[in-house]
Symmetry: C2
Subunit: 237 residues, 2 copies
DNA sequence: TAAATAGTGTCTTTAAGACATTATCGC
DNA sequence: GCGATAATGTCTTAAAGACACTATTTA
């Protein structure tokens, strides 16, 4: 027996049963990259963890759906939201033909709040079994974040407005899973053209005060670093 | 008056009126990057040029739709097909709520055939007015291709199975719009780890015969070149 | 003043830029 | 042998790797 939801449009053709949007919310927590999951109470996949997505309404742009679902589950807006990709195989959802558009959503680690609504932060390398094709979607989100980390200002979403080099370094390390040599890290990030010193410093614990930096542009942007497709012709006789 | 198509699912909710897939078929032709367009005869946008997409059926994976539409229009299969992204704003299609998934499709310049079915190759920097949001989709496709050119083996889709360095160089130049210095081009492409010499050569016109290369892997892969996120810690006491 | 943390300077290594030179064809 | 095209070699320049060292804080 199949109790799949079906749909038909006013021209008589079969239509998708619905359309969903899911944010893959990532944040570095205690040195490791985490993803925000919610428990699923209904079938299918009751009892598993899933991404906090939901159905789009016909008057909503998909980013709005992703943003709305995120806010409902965490109370925060995403600092950074970009489309990941769509998953539309006919059998990806047992309920019927329901394509989904996945979004990568990044929020400042500082504004994270303890779980409400049962939502939970889970390390991306320790995922439980997820419902639907959400494990694949999380993997795609992590890959995108890692891939763009040094080539764009995507980290805007993961750092506060002003931050120190060591702070940025710890965030980058949590995402990439490697340990950077501090002085080279500083040089690379400065040379990337993505950040600039504010001239201010912070002190707190022991040690020399750290200089505060900010992103030159908080809108999505690519790194200015020139590494580097092959040389173009300059002088040729 | 609105004659938009609407749809409702068996659970009583509004559903998308349909779902489409569109391939952005790119190929270098006579030194310039071209995109495959078809004339649109029906409203909306009758008389404009559009991408050769079409409606998905409920039992079809979206890549299959994109591939099928491509074959219907050109008679060839894509060598390379990757999802670009989705466009799902409620008002993107005057006919109704019809999200679309766009695909980047690359085909070997050698198997291109003269236009059939009225399809036409148009230089991407000389586009006429396109219907729907297809101008934006083409731009996104071109950007993706350019962005991945040196960092992946995406050029697999644009070159024959065996190719010479000058041949590859001309293809790369058509895509990026710059002129590469031949010997450095060779060095970079060899060092990328993406291609290897076959040991064979071709002769034809005048001049020294060119060595034939092939891609080490024809499946999607990233370049091995190490350029380069900052150094990781090696020796620390 | 010691421990802790942040920041600077610099030498080495590697990759890219810019050619000049050499090799091998068809005519 | 000559023009045409492909391939190799090499010197210069720039960026990344690998630290040692200096600067400021709190306890």
């Amino acid at each position: 027996m199949s109790n799949r939801i079906t749909a038909r449009n006013s021209a008589g053709f079969t239509a998708p049963a619905g359309m969903t949007a899911v944010p893959v919310v990532l944040a570095p927590l205690s040195g490791r990259l985490h993803v925000l999951l919610v428990p699923r109470s209904e079938d299918p996949f009751a009892g598993t963890w899933v991404l906090p997505g939901g159905f789009m309404s016909p008057d909503e742009r998909p980013e709005e759906t992703a943003q709305r679902k995120l806010t409902e589950k965490t109370g925060v807006g995403a600092v950074y939201l970009e489309q990941l990709q769509s998953y539309a195989d006919p059998d990806r959802d047992p309920r019927g033909w329901i394509p989904t558009i996945a979004y990568l959503a990044l929020i400042d680690a500082a504004v994270l709040r303890p779980d409400e609504h049962g939502a939970r932060w889970v390390p991306v390398d320790r995922l439980p079994a997820l419902g639907f094709d959400h494990a694949r979607i999380v993997a795609d989100g992590v890959e995108r974040l890692r891939g763009k980390l040094w080539w764009s200002n995507i980290a805007v979403g993961l750092l506060p407005e002003r931050f120190t080099m060591p702070q940025a370094r710890r965030v980058f390390e949590a995402i990439s899973g490697v340990t950077y040599e501090p002085s080279n890290f500083r040089r690379e990030l400065e040379q990337s053209g993505l950040v600039r010193a504010t001239g201010r410093t912070v002190r707190g614990g022991p040690g020399r005060p750290a200089a505060l930096y900010e992103f030159a542009d908080r809108r999505p942007a690519w790194s200015l670093r020139r590494s580097r497709p092959p040389a173009t012709v300059r002088h040729r006789t």
